[in-house]
Symmetry: C2
Subunit: 503 residues, 2 copies
């Protein structure tokens, strides 16, 4: 290993280790930190963020990277070149932006969150509008600094889904609208609705937790190198592939929500635990993008755990946990109940058919805000119009509408598309798995998840950041992202559940 590269590894691993510390702080804050420690914690996080920023923008790092890129690049291995490429990308993202802009974004992000919380609580969009306007200005300016060659919204998308642009997303989303709006309308118009009565009632929390742990472990979560706890919003965090931490929340009135949250987070966790960390604590071993990460959580949540073979394997176990509640249920009625499609106001509670329309609505708004065809002050009206058009319902308040998500309060524009890109990737990966391993449904119905996990490990997790998401999808599935798989899956599954004859 040449001296420059060795020098680089040392610098990059230090950044990774300090970032791991930051992740532990973040997890602790959501899961463990006493309520009264918020102010002290904010200062600790700021101090550590300052150190990490200092390391990431260290001119010596820049010199080292440029030196390697100019002189030794071709002699290096693929993971080594990947480390240089990724580190240079981060270095440029961090250094191309003026300190003034970084600080203003950080300050607005922190202040914006508080304003959003209050505005949502009081259902007052006009209180939040100034934050949104200022964020748009700053994010336009930011985009101009970091990627002057991209349209400003594309530069924002790139932050979450590298290499993906509006040119790629828009036609796919148009296609989804064209297919899903009529499908949802047909489901709504249909007289049959699954019986979900047995999912209501009281479900003891200790039984919920035991069930969630069992299924998470069955799927492959390694509790020796991870943990599962409770937080207000479920998430997957942790500081390293050997320290992966998932959370959920329990309501005694609803066990499906917490169970499927655990399965979702386990999907994220398997990605983290499956990363190729023997390549070192370096960029090449990291997870790829938001969309690919979401493909892993949705793979397990939607493609596996909402399938009939999964329900048939676990139904007896689930009924044994809640015998009184589920005494009249069957595998089939359980499967139908957890796959109910019903338009509603809140994205995070949406089913797999309506979810993409929540995303498309947000995508179209972000696009419109960035290209100037929409104005912030008109958003409540635009939001409600689009909800009516896509899902046939209108939120009664802005709290249940345009104010529901936290993303914009932190300036995270371009994040939303990842959710639906992830759903489509998940479906496309699953179709490939089915064709490569035709026994997959049989494996699921036997509770044998090892071949599935191994396939994901090999095809996706262990690829780290060696490829772009576009390259990865093509390598794994033999084609580019193709919404047909997702559309076909939804149409077939929901036509069968709802007994639709033609959609």
């Amino acid at each position: 290993m040449n001296q420059h590269y060795q020098n680089l590894v040392q610098k990059l691993e230090e950044i990774t280790h300090l970032s791991g510390v930051m992740s532990t702080l973040g997890w602790d804050q959501e899961v463990m930190m006493p309520a009264g420690a918020g102010e002290a914690r904010a200062k600790q996080i700021a101090a550590l963020a300052g150190v990490i920023h200092e390391r990431m923008t260290d001119p010596a790092l820049g010199e080292c990277l440029n030196e390697l890129k100019e002189k030794d690049f071709d002699a290096l291995s693929e993971p080594e070149r990947c480390n240089i490429r990724e580190a240079l990308h981060s270095y440029e993202l961090e250094t191309k932006v003026s300190k003034r802009l970084v600080q203003e974004l950080a300050e607005l992000s922190s202040r914006g969150h508080g304003i959003w919380v209050m505005a949502r609580q009081e259902n007052k969009f006009s209180d939040f509008a100034p934050v949104l306007k200022r964020f748009l200005e700053l994010k336009q300016e930011w985009a101009q600094c970091v990627s002057p060659e991209l349209k400003p919204y594309d530069a924002n998308i790139d932050l979450f889904e590298r290499g993906t642009t509006m040119d790629m997303i828009t036609p796919i989303f148009e296609r989804l609208k064209q297919e899903l709006i009529p499908l949802i309308a047909a489901i709504r118009a249909h007289s049959y609705q699954p019986n979900t009565a047995f999912l209501q009632g009281r479900f003891a929390l200790d039984k919920q937790e035991a069930l969630a742990r069992k299924i998470s472990r069955d799927i492959g979560f390694n509790f020796e190198q991870g943990r599962m706890d409770v937080s207000v919003h479920p998430f997957c965090g942790g500081s390293h592939p050997t320290d992966v931490r998932i959370t959920t929340r329990y309501k005694d009135s609803n066990f499906v929500e917490s169970l499927y949250a655990v399965i979702h987070e386990t999907g994220h966790a398997l990605y983290e635990q499956g990363r190729p960390h023997e390549l070192g604590d370096l960029p090449a071993s990291e997870s790829l993008t938001m969309g690919i990460h979401e493909s892993q959580s949705l793979f397990w949540e939607r493609m596996i755990a909402q399938s009939k073979p999964f329900c048939s394997h676990y139904f007896d176990t689930i009924r044994a946990a809640f015998p009184d509640n589920l005494k009249s249920a069957t595998v089939d009625s359980f499967y139908r109940a957890i796959n109910t499609c019903k338009p509603d106001f809140i994205r995070v509670e949406a089913d797999e058919v309506t979810y993409p329309l929540h995303i498309i609505l947000r995508y179209e708004i972000e696009k419109g805000l960035f290209d100037g065809s929409m104005q912030v002050d008109d958003l409540p009206h635009i939001w409600n119009e689009l909800m009516l058009k896509y899902l046939g319902i209108q939120p009664p308040t802005d709290a249940l509408g345009v104010l529901q998500d936290s993303h914009w309060s932190g300036g995270a524009f371009g994040y939303f598309p990842s959710y639906t890109l992830g759903a489509m990737y998940a479906c496309q990966f699953y179709k490939t798995l089915l064709s490569e391993q035709p026994d997959t449904e049989k494996h699921i119905s036997e509770g044998n998840f090892t071949p599935i996990k191994q396939w994901l490990n090999e095809k996706i997790h262990r690829q780290g950041r060696l490829y772009t998401p576009q390259e990865l999808v093509r390598r794994v599935t033999g084609e580019a992202l193709n919404p047909d798989h997702f559309i076909g899956h939804l149409k077939q599954k929901y036509s069968e559940i709802y007994g639709l004859t033609s959609v």
Copy 2:
């Protein structure tokens, strides 16, 4: 505030905040971290330690401190001068030692721990002896660098108990030996022994935890700014006065141990929660020394919670938690049972009468090793001889003798005396409280701990690091550390319990 001082505050607060992050990592490692994450965590800790060391030895910090000390010192307030004094002390400790020595100490400390664990497990002192010898050499060299004006062992003591020297400790420890050895011998020779049968049995862990939480809260632990968890060894950690975290461990065969561990750690926690953090996250607001910290834990554990008024207040609550076990017990029999004096091999399990002799033995050995009057290879023999002389018993193995403590495996010489200094401070503080607030025992028997906590807050916790331990003791109690209080307390209490007529 002048510019130099403002500059200093910024640098020192950054160090405090990063150290708070390090404390959170330490807590997480003991309480939450998955077993498989040890290696990744070690690297994260090393990266952060490197940053903190870099900040603490930053030449700009040194210049700033010297500038302030030379030019502006007298114009500053007392806490400001304290910050400069303490920061300069730390700066000098960090910078006077060569990088080579720092690294060798760190390396030996990390390796030494593993060797000690194995040596204790296999009861083989000779495996650990080389570590101890090398540590002695390095710690002599270290002492010569940081405090050439002090004897090497005094320089090591100074690290834990600033300003305290062998000249102060030796006569006090001699006095303790002279008084306690005959007291313990008299207790051993006496025919009466308290009945402790009802402390044996099975005690449900959830009842133990509920009881411990209740008493910790009653005493004054603020759970809004702290938490209580489980770890292998009880400790008090956390990252800030608003984030104080205590731990205990539960055995179903013994509730007294976990309950009194919680009370002990609550004493530490009240000190941390009571620090004057409105002075900023700066040295002046920190806790003073190991000995003073221990005085706070022992104050609550020994002086309050092992007293008769405390037992009389809580007996019914405790019996209600374990009704079958304690049905035949009374306040008096409970008080006697938890105050049994019985020489045994293990320091951490020792009662308040025999504990000081465990410490004195270790102090005399450390002193002998540093002045060359004892040799490492002779320690097993020396240890056993001293145990026989002081406590009348001899450990059957080195694992129960010279190998029992972890301190030396990390090079922590000079730490042990703090435990007994703390016990004596605690007793002297308590005597002062009794004279200033004559209703104290009544308050305890009524479960009214507020006046006691307030007194400690005002007299000790809120003093931060404004004074040396010697000055603080004199300010609070009107005299220097005086072992008479401790000796008198033990003699009176144990004569009464054991019905001794003349000791």
